[in-house]
């Protein structure tokens, strides 16, 4: 090979880069796997929606894209440039939609997923890491691990101070809610029905990730005696449960339930305690199961225990969105978020 100025330059650049590779850190992820990450992580591939959202809140500049492209109403709440980054598909959950060759072309330094650390996901991570040679880290997505995951996340991508700041913020909310809810005796905790689907007849069973926020807030999930995920129930069953509060994510259902004679017998409907959850840009109560549910805890607190939670939701929304989503929403935007418009 002829020694040209360019190749010499490339060689010396390579030499300069060497110490970086040598200084690569080994981080133990939430599944106990040792993951070797380069010192400077510049391109991060999120394996699923919770990973994308969390990484966006922590280090937006290195986020390669989103599992699903953000729609216009969602974009209005995000950093315009980062929010508009391309759709990449997902590597996790119910089947992969990402093409590994496309993944390689994106040249990520790090792939990471936040969610389950069960065997399926560990083996997916190991396999993809072996196939692509790109480090793949797993973080725990459980609600009580959000702060811990932020700190580990900060170590992985070299963003420790900000990760600590966000982790502390989340821990504050979690502790506040926990200590206030703990003062409420079991019989004073409202019985809540969580309604999904246009008819409001899909619900989440006890221990379901969909209802983590509601159960965390100490509410008695009427469908909680059966453990599991999502399920359909009959309206008769809802009448038999006679919940005091209904929390829903479905706009159609929330709009129609008050005038529907079949639902008129339900206490929550009679008392006007049917509440539509905020969902822009990411849901407050249910999905995606990530840090977007933090303000949802306070929101639920104001509905379930109005005399314990006197927080100003407008302030809370402005502060949380500015801090986590890098964009201060307008008064109008905040009002529409709180009305649950999507």
């Amino acid at each position: 090979m002829k020694l040209t100025r360019r190749s010499l330059l490339a060689a010396s650049a390579g030499l300069l880069a060497m110490p970086h590779v040598a200084r690569a850190a080994t981080v133990v992820d939430a599944a106990g796997r040792s993951v070797t990450v380069p010192e400077r992580v510049e391109r991060v591939f999120p394996a699923g929606p919770p990973a994308a959202i969390t990484h966006y809140t922590l280090q937006p500049r290195t986020l390669l894209g989103w599992p699903r492209a953000n729609r216009a109403p969602e974009l209005a709440f995000l950093d315009p440039e980062v929010g508009a980054r391309p759709e990449l598909g997902r590597l996790t959950g119910r089947g992969n939609t990402t093409n590994l060759e496309v993944l390689l072309q994106l040249k990520p330094n790090l792939i990471f997923d936040i969610g389950s650390t069960a065997r399926t996901f560990v083996e997916t991570a190991d396999r993809v890491q072996a196939q692509t040679g790109i480090p793949y880290a797993l973080l725990d997505g459980r609600f009580d691990k959000i702060a811990e995951s932020y700190r580990l996340h900060g170590q992985l991508v070299g963003e420790v101070p900000r990760a600590n700041e966000l982790a502390n913020y989340c821990e504050d909310i979690v502790r506040t809610c926990q200590s206030r809810v703990a003062t409420v005796p079991a019989e004073k905790r409202p019985r809540v029905y969580y309604a999904r689907g246009p008819r409001g007849l899909d619900t989440a069973l006890g221990g379901s990730i969909n209802i983590e926020t509601i159960e965390f807030m100490g509410a008695a999930n009427v469908a909680g005696q059966t453990r599991g995920g999502l399920a359909s129930v009959s309206l008769e069953q809802v009448l038999a449960w006679d919940p005091e509060v209904i929390i829903t994510i479905d706009q159609d259902f929330a709009a129609n339930v008050r005038s529907d004679p079949s639902w008129a017998g339900v206490k929550a409907v009679r008392d006007g305690r049917v509440h539509l959850s905020p969902k822009m840009p990411f849901g407050w109560v249910d999905f995606p199961p990530s840090v977007n549910r933090m303000p949802g805890l306070i929101w639920l607190g104001t509905l379930l225990y109005p005399n314990l939670f006197a927080e100003n939701l407008t302030e809370l929304t402005r502060d949380f969105y500015t801090r986590f989503y890098h964009r201060t929403p307008t008064e109008q935007q905040i009002a529409s978020v709180l009305e649950g418009r999507g």
């Binding site: 997902r90 246009p198 008769e236 038999a240 004679p261 008129a264 017998g265």
Partner: protein, 339 residues
């Protein structure tokens, strides 16, 4: 050959099944109402006197369980009658109402509606239209192929088009939002009457009544159509016109049922066999018996679906779990009823 029971016997038995199923349906359920409450509520509805029941109990009888019971009977009858008509028309005992793609078309329609987050009425409308369009498509393609056995070509086209529509459903599920849309799609495809209310009854009853009336009117011709085609022609019947009418009527009732209740397999396959076992293959007897048995059967299944647990058991799962052993039993004990 006639079956074990006379014409009247079969229908009477079917009618008894429906009565027993209705009584049972109003006696068990997650919300405590019973037959006496039903009587009281209906009596007060007739006389205009207050019934003394709680508003919740009245809502259960008139808005929730009542419509659901009627919908179960209608859907069960529709699927069973359509199954009987198709089995006769295609001279094949393994045919079910979705043979020409009605269910796959309806599924694609409904899944498209869920994918675009439409309302319930739009989702059901799309499902109904999807079923009709799919069968029309199969019919046009099948009858434009002019080689070999017309009936066989039609059935094969139905299978192929059904598979294509199934791929469409798969694609939309793949692209769906996994948190919200995908569970809704899965629930819909498993079949359920959990969401039925009064407003669903008319769009269900209209097409089913029309389609069943047409099939009843054609009962003698259906007998001839289940003979080999040359024999039917030799008797001077316009087989082409008759076939399209029977297919249209059976598709109408199937699509209405699938639009209201999602995909419920097995009813349209097994119930006609039971009915044939009881009254023989002659359509004038077979259609009423099939309709009553189908209605009673699906109502019993739906009663199980809504009362076994706090959560609904999908109908498609129950009909398969109960239907498979029943079908095997029928195969071993009633082999001769198909003749």
């Amino acid at each position: 050959m006639s079956g074990r029971f006379g014409a009247l016997g079969g229908s009477a038995l079917g009618f008894c099944l429906v009565i027993v199923a209705v009584a049972l349906a109003f006696s068990v359920g997650r919300f405590p109402v019973n037959l006496i409450d039903l009587g009281t509520a209906v009596w007060s509805g007739v006389t205009g006197q207050p019934s003394g029941l709680t508003p919740a109990a009245e809502a259960v009888i008139f808005n929730i369980r009542g419509p659901r019971v009627l919908a179960a009977i209608l859907c069960g009858s529709a699927l069973a009658v359509a199954g009987a008509a198709f089995q006769g028309l295609f001279r094949n005992p393994l045919v079910s109402p979705d043979i020409l793609g009605a269910s796959s078309g309806a599924a694609l329609g409904a899944i498209t509606g869920i994918f675009f987050s439409l309302g319930i009425v739009a989702i059901q409308g799309l499902a109904f239209a999807g079923g009709l369009v799919a069968v029309a498509l199969v019919y046009v393609i099948g009858s434009s192929i002019r080689s070999g056995d017309t009936v066989l070509i039609l059935v094969l086209t139905g299978v192929v088009v059904g598979a294509l529509l199934g791929a469409g459903v798969g694609l939309l599920k793949y692209l769906a939002d996994p948190y919200n849309q995908l569970p809704a799609m899965t629930f819909w495809l498993l079949g359920s009457l959990a969401g039925t209310d009064r407003h669903d009854l008319l769009p269900l009853f209209g097409p089913i009544a029309l389609g069943t009336a047409v099939l009843l009117a054609l009962r003698w011709r259906l007998n001839v159509m289940s003979l080999p085609e040359e024999e039917a022609r030799a008797l001077g019947l316009p087989t082409g016109l008759l076939r399209i009418t029977i297919v249209a009527a059976a598709t109408l009732v199937t699509s209405a049922s699938v639009a209201a209740a999602g995909i419920i397999g097995w009813v349209g396959l097994i119930v006609p066999h039971m009915a044939r076992f009881m009254v023989g293959p002659e359509f004038a007897r077979l259609i009423p018996t099939t309709a009553l048995l189908g209605g009673g059967y699906l109502l019993l299944i739906d009663t199980l679906a809504r009362s076994m647990a706090q959560v609904e058991i999908p109908l498609g799962i129950l009909t398969a779990v109960i239907g498979t052993p029943a079908f095997i039993w029928l195969l071993t004990s009633a082999r001769k009823s198909w003749s």
